[in-house]
Symmetry: C2
């Protein structure tokens, strides 16, 4: 260290080297190349709604710009927006959350990061589900924590039970990070499951971070929040709820989310937000106020209905095309289905021979990844019809349809 | 851990508890209360330009929204914007940086965070300057690193020398995070100082993160980049340069910055960005393209000239009003000046008796904080005139003017 190395040792963190690349990126590059060659690629790979941002929200955005609302805001977000989010919990779920408990963030991404940094000390273990959102382990690791995976499966609707979490709990486990609805499986925890999980975690003095970013995108039964079951976050439940304007409200690229935290965490999260981000994007916050107006909600509900039609179509059509669909996803816009052959091989051939781009399962699961793929229905019914026909043709060639 | 605690131990990270609150926040609350009581408070506390976002950038922003450019972008940012930033380095500084080395981020905040997460392993030490930007130590700590402060002073223009850094270097020191121009002191490193510092760090196989977010806000002598001295970041200099659209381009609340990194770090930073942020705000990226058009640059240059006039006024008027100004800041929009009495006491009385809000020095310095305050000239000349008259009156009452 004290002498001049001829060939210096390059400095790079273990964390940044250990993060697995997203395998879907390579496939999307191939898809783009195929599309440029003129092939009619259909994407079932996409993690953002195809509808874009609702016009009333865009209008509110432009108004905010015209009014020069481009300055830093409070680190925790604009109070009117925090109040509007609290109002949303009351009107939609009948839950009383105080605006002071709500923290607006640069997407749910920043919320997940602040939650982990506010809760974890180096070496603390956090339970995550497999399959699950691949970035969750990185949020834990970037805060110095250790992810520990709880395997879920189709038989339990790809959600953990209280017993699963209890069995996985170890002396250095501090809590769990779960998602309901879950990505990639599109499945939810029931109220009674939430209750049992919270009780099991509280018995161990742990925290629970619950990702509800796909909350309002659900079909068949109403949207739910763990707050309905457990009440607002407090020092007893040590609950942190994560949400986002990205999915239901169609604001993906605007980078705006929020978290609901117990009072005792607010000051710590505020200091983290001040230091690490200054504030969430300002005009997006002003625009987000329009999300809770009836005009925007009507548009979002119409979009939800369309997502529901697409889901219904796929749940019927995919088995007829030779794919095993062994859960009944009722939320988000994903299905995590079995592939007749190894999923990398399947997704590669599906793309290169049939121009349908799906996400290989291993981006989401260590153990089930090789036998499953994620299909997104953030695409039009017309395109979904085409995709299913091509999947049928591919499966026929494989002798499974 | 395995039994039910009656009063559970609240889970909260040591990091979030250890971050010092910004003392200025308390003062700004008091200032707001005084303003609401009708007192004509003048803020010298503000860390963002008072000019707002240039109209051509706002127009480009609205156009992006009208064109529905609200979707996720690539994690490293839009390639046209990365190309435009590379073009800016070439046209302004004659430096050839490839667009592939440029990473667009959610403000310089995210860039500083990614830099620390990409470079540091737990326990690695990073040299910072005191005084300096208070969040820097948090970026280091949030990545598991240990900040170690190098004291600077007025005699060396509040910038460290190569000897300072060499003397502070220890076996677990991995690099330094410096700022030129520096906040709160408004002072810069010369090209020869940069050269000497880089050589000293390279001899130790270390990295250098250089914060240049106030780069183009400078007066008297031209804007500089360490890239002019050291060439583009590579595996030999292990240099990471941080910049921002917030200050010179007036885009504070839009949260957009960038970093320039060695090739060997790009993949790691990309994975961190994908996992921790998905992407920087999309329409702000499209809007930022307009920053490099002549129309926006002309506005930014006119604003820079106005900042220069304000600086000239304060450098002349403050000593006449009884304050010791012992450096000649030539950049950013701050002066870090001595207070006649303890700075907390001084700033409190200056606000409550004379309605001028300045930032107590301890937010920026462990050792010098009690004897200095930060004055920002992100306020009109008229307001600065008023503020100086009040400072003179206060200092007269203290017997120092």
């Amino acid at each position: 260290m004290q002498s001049t190395p001829i060939q210096p040792a390059l400095i790079q963190s273990t964390l940044s080297q250990q993060i697995a690349p997203f395998h879907v990126m390579e496939l999307v590059k191939q898809a783009d190349a195929l599309a440029q060659q003129g092939h009619p690629v259909v994407h079932l790979s996409i993690g953002e709604p195809d509808f874009g941002t609702p016009p009333p929200v865009l209008e509110a955005y432009c108004t905010a710009l015209a009014e020069h609302k481009t300055r830093y805001t409070a680190a925790l977000g604009l109070m009117p927006l925090r109040e509007a989010i609290a109002g949303f919990y009351q009107s939609q779920f009948g839950v009383l959350v105080r605006p002071e408990q709500i923290v607006v963030t640069s997407g749910a991404s920043a919320a997940l990061q602040f939650a982990c940094l506010a809760l974890l000390n180096p070496g603390d273990e956090v339970l995550l589900t497999d399959p699950g959102y691949p970035c969750n382990k990185t949020f834990v690791q970037a805060a110095g924590g250790q992810p520990r995976f709880v395997q879920t499966n189709a038989a339990n609707n790809f959600q953990p039970t209280a017993e699963d979490l209890s069995a996985a709990w170890r002396p250095n486990t501090r809590g769990a990070l779960l998602a309901s609805p879950n990505n990639p499986t599109g499945t939810r925890l029931s109220a009674s499951q939430c209750q049992a999980i919270c009780t099991a975690i509280a018995q161990r003095g742990g925290f629970l971070i619950m990702d509800e970013i796909y909350q309002s995108l659900c079909y068949g039964s109403p949207a739910r929040s763990i707050l309905q079951t457990m009440g607002p976050p407090d020092e007893h439940n040590q609950l942190v709820v994560i949400n986002s304007f990205s999915k239901y409200f169609g604001m993906t690229g605007l980078r705006l989310g929020w978290m609901v935290v117990p009072d005792y965490l607010v000051e710590g999260v505020e200091k983290l937000a001040q230091n690490l981000s200054i504030c969430p994007p300002a005009p997006a916050q002003w625009a987000a106020l329009a999300c809770f107006d009836q005009a925007a909600l009507d548009i979002c509900e119409a979009r939800r209905a369309e997502f529901g039609q697409r889901r219904d179509f796929l749940l019927k059509a995919l088995p007829e095309a030779g794919l095993v669909v062994d859960t009944t996803p009722d939320s988000a816009f994903y299905l995590y289905v079995k592939t007749p052959i190894d999923s990398d091989n399947y997704c590669n051939r599906l793309l290169n021979q049939h121009w349908v781009c799906a996400v290989p399962g291993k981006d989401f699961s260590i153990n089930l990844g090789h036998e499953r793929m994620r299909l997104s229905y953030a695409n039009s019914l017309n395109n979904l019809h085409q995709a299913v026909e091509r999947i049928r043709a591919f499966n026929t060639s494989l002798g499974v349809a």
